[in-house]
């Protein structure tokens, strides 16, 4: 126990003197996560807002055939503009999102009381054109309904006759849950920074120590190997928890600076505290697993080559859930990464977490961390580990 404390102190002292690694571990994630979340959120929101509220100028081919429609669209904030090039080419070149084509027989159909054709031309694979297309569609639909009603009234028929069934939506999702939608990637970011936040330190204290040839003298001291490894893991976890704390604080501060994000997720002090607590087992799992892997590597370079794979691990549950969304089951809270993901989503959506869920989650998380810690200490007992070259 005392030896563990000595190793812990020494590793932290070394880290504090290594400014670059310290900065990377403590500042990068706390700075990057809120910037990504808030930046992307604000960007998406402002874009949607501007597309919905800004006057939309579109080309209208054959506008002279339907002056009333064009005037009505103008009243809805959709104005007419002229294009120099062929409108179809403009859509293909992505210069334009959408344009209207009014058929040559529009006036004739209109007079006869038969449907007159108005084509909305767009490229359905373009994410960007979705909102303009919807706006044009909605405006024309409204025009259609209004004129249809007027025509029926003129013939002495109630417009209600023409609509025997009306479908309407009733959204039962809570406002809090809707917030979570835009922040689906926040759990991934948080899990990743908790899981891999300590990687610099771990690689430096294990594979780095071996590469620099200071492991053999260390193992020749009477300190127990279990204590040495535990000290190293504890140092990594201390740094990981600090980085996590900073990340959560900066997330909260960032959310207060950007009011949009506060509306989309729960950033109350309780929620932030819960998220921090949820991520704790992840820090311990990460620290032990990284130590286990890096201890077996002969050089820093070899250890770092494993990290590319590890970055993908937290992504797997998120991807699987994206492809086939399933209802929360108790077993999910025992699967690493998936459990953290679900727990964080619950907090972000302001759902209550059952005591049983907490129990399953914490037992599984800390249990796995303990197994990995044990594996790491076993690895330090291997004879070949001490031989550097």
């Amino acid at each position: 126990m005392k030896a563990m404390l000595i190793v812990w102190m020494k590793e932290l002292r070394e880290l504090v003197r290594d400014r670059r690694t310290l900065l990377l571990a403590l500042v990068l994630s706390p700075l990057l996560t809120p910037i990504l979340v808030i930046g992307l959120g604000t960007l998406a929101e402002s874009r949607a807002k501007s597309q919905i509220e800004k006057p939309l100028a579109i080309a209208i081919v054959g506008a002279e055939r339907a002056p009333n429609l064009v005037a009505w669209l103008g009243g809805q904030g959709i104005t007419r503009k002229t294009l120099d090039e062929d409108p179809d080419t403009a859509i293909r070149n992505q210069d334009e999102d959408v344009y209207l084509r009014i058929e040559p027989e529009y006036a004739a159909h209109w007079r006869d009381g038969t449907p007159a054709l108005v084509e909305i031309v767009h490229d359905s694979t373009r994410e960007d054109s979705k909102i303009p297309v919807k706006r044009v569609e909605a405006a024309i639909d409204l025009y259609r309904q209004e004129l249809g009603a007027l025509r029926l009234l003129a013939r002495g028929v109630s417009p209600a006759v023409a609509s025997p069934v009306v479908a309407s939506h009733k959204d039962l999702s809570t406002p809090e849950a809707r917030k979570g939608l835009a922040l689906a990637f926040l759990p991934y970011l948080l899990i990743l920074s908790a899981f891999l936040g300590t990687v610099q330190l771990v690689v430096d204290t294990t594979a780095g120590e071996r590469e620099r040839q200071s492991l053999e003298p260390l193992l020749a001291t009477p300190a127990r190997r279990g204590a040495i490894v535990s000290g190293k893991i504890a140092a990594a976890c201390a740094v990981g928890v600090t980085a996590l704390l900073l990340t959560m604080i900066s997330l909260k501060v960032g959310a207060q600076l950007s009011p949009g994000i506060g509306r989309q997720m729960d950033v109350g002090t309780t929620a932030i505290g819960k998220m921090l607590f949820i991520l704790l087992p992840m820090v311990f799992i990460g620290g032990s697993l990284l130590t286990f892997i890096a201890a077996g590597a002969k050089s820093v370079k070899e250890a770092q080559s494993y990290m590319g794979v590890l970055i993908l691990l937290p992504m797997i549950p998120t991807l699987i859930l994206m492809v086939s969304p399933v209802k929360n089951q108790p077993w999910m809270f025992a699967v690493p990464f998936l459990a953290q993901n679900q727990m964080l989503l619950k907090v972000i959506r302001s759902e209550t977490i059952e005591p049983l869920t907490w129990a399953v989650y914490l037992a599984a998380g800390f249990g796995l961390a303990a197994v990995l810690w044990f594996a790491a200490t076993r690895r330090y007992h291997q004879e070949k580990l001490a031989v550097s070259a």
Binding site: K10, R17, R212, S214, E216, P217, A220, P222, V387, S388
Partner: protein, 251 residues
């Protein structure tokens, strides 16, 4: 006192030929207190592997090691307490000062801070490292690094000292200083074992020499005994005879 009895160690072979490589085979010798015992042998003879078994980093496949009369198997911790070890790998923590490097090992040996401070002062004086004691070891010369490594290996005042090629890469003056330091350890009644592939060094320092070649002890005794055994007046010729030719091996 350190006694090695019939030590044997093999490693898994690499490549197509999967036969195990015999690193050390039936090595035995005794290093007495108040004497310097030299392990002499060419590169790859098995010196480092032998020493690693002595300081419990490796477990011999057969044979045993006694430190001060006690078998180290099962008592690794006690053995390591009784040993001061300068391994082949002597990396120091470059972001710590020399003093902090020494203190770290002192703490791992369970010494209290006052005692560590006192021992550091004494070792620094004996090894002439006062002018760089409080500098971070990054950028240290080979000699400064070796001195730091030796000081931290001896901070717990061990009765037995094992040094793996301590003069490797050191200049003449540092080597001379180090020899003086080893003689001082001997005069304090310690048991000193050191390995080397350099003849002159062994001749200049050792009370007893153990010559190792191809993982086996080919001869042991005082320098005079070795000369007599081979019939060579010059110790270097005796060494070449002992390790180089079949005639030497069977002498």
């Amino acid at each position: 006192m350190i006694t090695a009895e019939h030590l044997r160690k093999t490693f898994p072979g690499k490549g197509k030929d999967k036969g195990r490589v015999i690193a050390v085979d039936d090595v035995g010798f005794t290093a007495r207190d108040g004497e310097i015992t030299g392990l002499l042998g060419p590169n790859g003879a098995g010196k480092t592997t032998t020493l690693r078994m002595l300081y419990t980093l490796m477990r011999p496949e057969s044979g045993r090691v006694l430190v001060d009369g006690a078998d180290v198997a099962g008592n690794e911790e006690a053995a390591r307490r009784a040993l001061g070890v300068l391994p082949d790998a002597r990396g120091v923590y470059k972001r710590l000062t020399a003093r902090e490097n020494i203190r770290y090992f002192g703490e791992l040996h369970g010494l209290d801070p006052k005692l560590i401070e006192e021992r550091t002062r004494r070792l620094a004086g004996a090894l002439q490292m006062d002018d760089f004691l409080d500098r971070q070891t990054e950028g240290f010369s080979q000699g400064q690094r070796t001195k730091t490594a030796i000081a931290r290996a001896l901070v717990h005042d061990p009765k037995n000292v094992i040094l793996d090629e301590p003069t490797n890469g050191l200049d003449v003056m540092t080597t001379r200083g180090l020899r003086e330091f080893l003689r001082q350890l001997r005069s304090e009644g310690r048991c000193v074992i050191f390995s080397s592939h350099i003849m002159q060094e062994v001749a200049a320092l050792c009370d007893r020499v153990v010559v190792i070649a191809h993982g086996k002890v080919v001869a042991q005794g005082t320098a005079d005994e070795l000369r007599a055994q081979t019939g060579e007046a010059n110790l270097e010729d005796a060494f070449v005879r002992l390790i180089g030719s079949d005639e030497g091996l069977h002498a």
